[in-house]
């Protein structure tokens, strides 16, 4: 049986107060299991990114619980949340968010350094990760010299750095052409299955459904089955 790695229990997120109150997310319960790809779909403003931020321990829910690897993180302070993010999560962003002063390899090394890897291992591990996403030959290129697909591959290598069990990807194909987008999705699915990662993709692109093991829909902050 696939192992449950993350669970949200009836999480709500409310912005503002009084008459200006907006419920971005209402009673959303989601589970993530190892080796599977979960796709969260919905129109713009439906609360996808809010849910992803809560799942990634970046945003605190107004109500409800988030359980990561069996630990309820509701009582955690900012330092503990940072530590949980460092240990359990890898992030892939729509705008890639690579550090422009660093080469592709150094972008991966940043995470390994943050995770306290020994200096001897950092270089070899980063090179290995770039090789895994097919970017070994572009390891020393700066982001400005990489294509959109190469940037996203670098971002995936960075998300995999340090072997986190959960990968959260926000619109990973939005800035890519359709062929490159498909390659990136296959790469994510392949890693979910081969490396037993729990991958969550947020997208409003129906083509992403092809790689997902499970799809949930969000509309006006509510989950639709």
């Amino acid at each position: 049986m696939d192992k449950l790695i993350l669970e949200t229990r009836a999480v709500n997120k409310i912005y503002g107060a009084g008459a200006a109150q907006v419920a971005a997310l209402q009673s959303a319960s989601v589970t993530l299991t190892q080796g599977k790809v979960l796709l969260i779909m919905g129109p713009s403003g439906s609360g996808k990114t809010t849910l992803l931020s809560i799942m990634g321990c970046i945003l605190r829910p107004t109500f409800g619980d988030v359980v990561v690897h069996g630990r309820n993180i509701s009582a955690c302070d900012e330092r503990e949340l940072a530590s949980i993010r460092r240990r359990y999560f890898g992030f892939v962003f729509q705008a890639f968010n690579l550090f422009r002063s660093l080469t592709a390899q150094e972008n991966v090394e940043v995470v390994l350094r943050m995770k306290g890897r020994s200096k001897q291992r950092i270089h070899a591990e980063a090179a290995d990760l770039l090789d895994r996403v097919g970017l070994a030959r572009r390891a020393h290129a700066y982001p400005r010299d990489l294509s959109g697909g190469e940037k996203q591959r670098t971002a995936i290598a960075r998300a995999l750095a340090g072997d986190p069990p959960i990968i959260l990807a926000d619109e990973p194909t939005a800035n890519l052409d359709s062929k490159t987008g498909r390659d990136i999705l296959q790469l994510l699915r392949g890693h979910a299955q081969e490396l037993h990662k729990a991958v969550t993709i947020v997208s409003h692109d129906p083509k992403v459904e092809e790689v997902a093991h499970r799809v949930i829909y969000l509309e006006d902050g509510r989950l639709k089955s």
């Binding site: 990114t49 992030f91 350094r113 943050m114």
Partner: protein
């Protein structure tokens, strides 16, 4: 994280250059302004500092070394009568005029000292020796006067109007580092020669200062107190008191020192503003990077370390370049006749100020990062 701080700092050379310009500007202006101020104060007190005396007896209410008033020279006998006194010497200080070859007149500060002891005389010689002024109309001029007086050739004759008498003096030596606050050339001659010149004038039998050396310098304060009681018509200062009085006069009473300090403070503030602005702009530019780091699990302290390290490294680099620029321009400044003193303590203090200013500027950025919402990394 230090690695990331260095990589980000040195990869973005344009931002680094702007930051360094601000710090170098601040460093150079502060060092030069304070250095010139110290140089001026050094000149104003040079004779007092280089005269090996524990106590200075001057005319009543003398505000500084330069603005002396004559008083009866026989009062030295009361000083010498004290058991604690090892020796006491008289020093003349008068402003007079020196006639140049082209007919122009330049004001000079003439110091008369005892060539047998050298007390009150030149302390560093470029040519000749202090004792050479003994026994005639001989003078020692400071080589810093060349700019004002022209070529100073040993053996050349100079006409000096001393107490309304034109007298010829032979140049027998060149001193070094004897400058006055007012930049008026300093000329040394023998005390007795000046004393003779005073004969027949209203100031006959007067002197400018009596300097005192004690057998036991630890008793300076108590002996100075005794002398104040014995010489009610004179001011009696310990060496340090006279230096402080002179410095206070030029710094506070004339406002010259405050003007220099104000410029130095403005330099630090303007430099700090430039540095603060570039560091803050750099932080805003890297906000997404910092947000990404936070999302990936970096703590605020980690990111603060990046920002503060960059500010500190910029401060050290900018200060080092500023020091090099200051040292390189020092010769040019001094050749133009402006004295500069750059003690190691000044470098240490300016370094501390520059680093503190840069870190304070970076602190504004740190506060911005503290409130940074990592959710922003999901926005395009």
């Amino acid at each position: 994280m230090l690695w990331l701080a260095f990589r980000m700092l040195f990869q973005e050379r344009g931002s680094l250059a702007i930051t360094l310009v601000g710090i170098v500007f601040s460093t150079v202006l502060t060092l030069v302004e304070v250095g010139i101020y110290l140089g001026m104060m050094g000149n104003a007190t040079s004779v007092v500092r280089h005269t090996d005396a524990d106590i200075w007896v001057a005319s009543k209410n003398v505000p500084n070394f330069d603005f002396m008033q004559p008083f009866p020279a026989y009062r030295i006998n009361r000083v010498r009568a004290l058991d604690e006194v090892l020796w006491a010497e008289k020093i003349h200080l008068w402003f007079s005029f020196l006639k140049l070859a082209d007919g122009r007149r330049e004001q000079i500060q003439m110091i008369g000292f005892n060539p047998d002891t050298g007390i009150g005389g030149p302390w560093a010689m470029a040519a000749g020796k202090p004792a050479d002024v003994k026994g005639g109309h001989y003078i020692i001029m400071d080589q810093s006067s060349i700019q004002r007086l022209g070529k100073l050739e040993l053996g050349s004759m100079w006409e000096i109007n001393l107490f309304n008498k034109e007298q010829s003096f032979k140049l027998v030596g060149l001193s070094r580092e004897a400058l006055s606050f007012t930049t008026i050339p300093v000329v040394f001659t023998s005390y007795n020669e000046m004393d003779h010149s005073l004969m027949g004038s209203n100031f006959e039998g007067n002197t400018s200062f009596v300097v005192v050396k004690l057998k036991d310098p630890t008793k300076t304060d108590s002996v100075a107190q005794s002398l104040r009681a014995m010489l009610p018509n004179n001011d009696v200062y310990t060496r340090q008191e006279f230096i402080d009085r002179t410095v206070n006069y030029w710094t506070i009473q004339t406002g010259i020192g405050l003007a220099f300090f104000l410029t130095a403070i403005l330099a630090v503030l303007i430099g700090g503003a430039i540095v603060g602005q570039t560091i803050y702009a750099g932080t805003i530019e890297h906000l997404r990077d910092y947000g990404t780091l936070k999302a990936m699990g970096a703590k605020n302290d980690d990111i603060n370390l990046v920002i503060l390290t960059q500010a500190a490294v910029s401060a050290v680099l900018g200060f080092a370049i500023g020091v090099l620029v200051t040292l390189a321009s020092r010769h040019g400044i001094e050749t133009a006749g402006v004295s500069m003193q750059l003690p190691l303590l000044l470098f240490a203090v300016v370094f501390a100020i520059i680093v503190a200013t840069c870190l304070a500027a970076a602190y504004i950025s740190v506060r911005k990062v503290k409130t940074l919402d990592p959710v922003m990394v999901f926005r395009e």
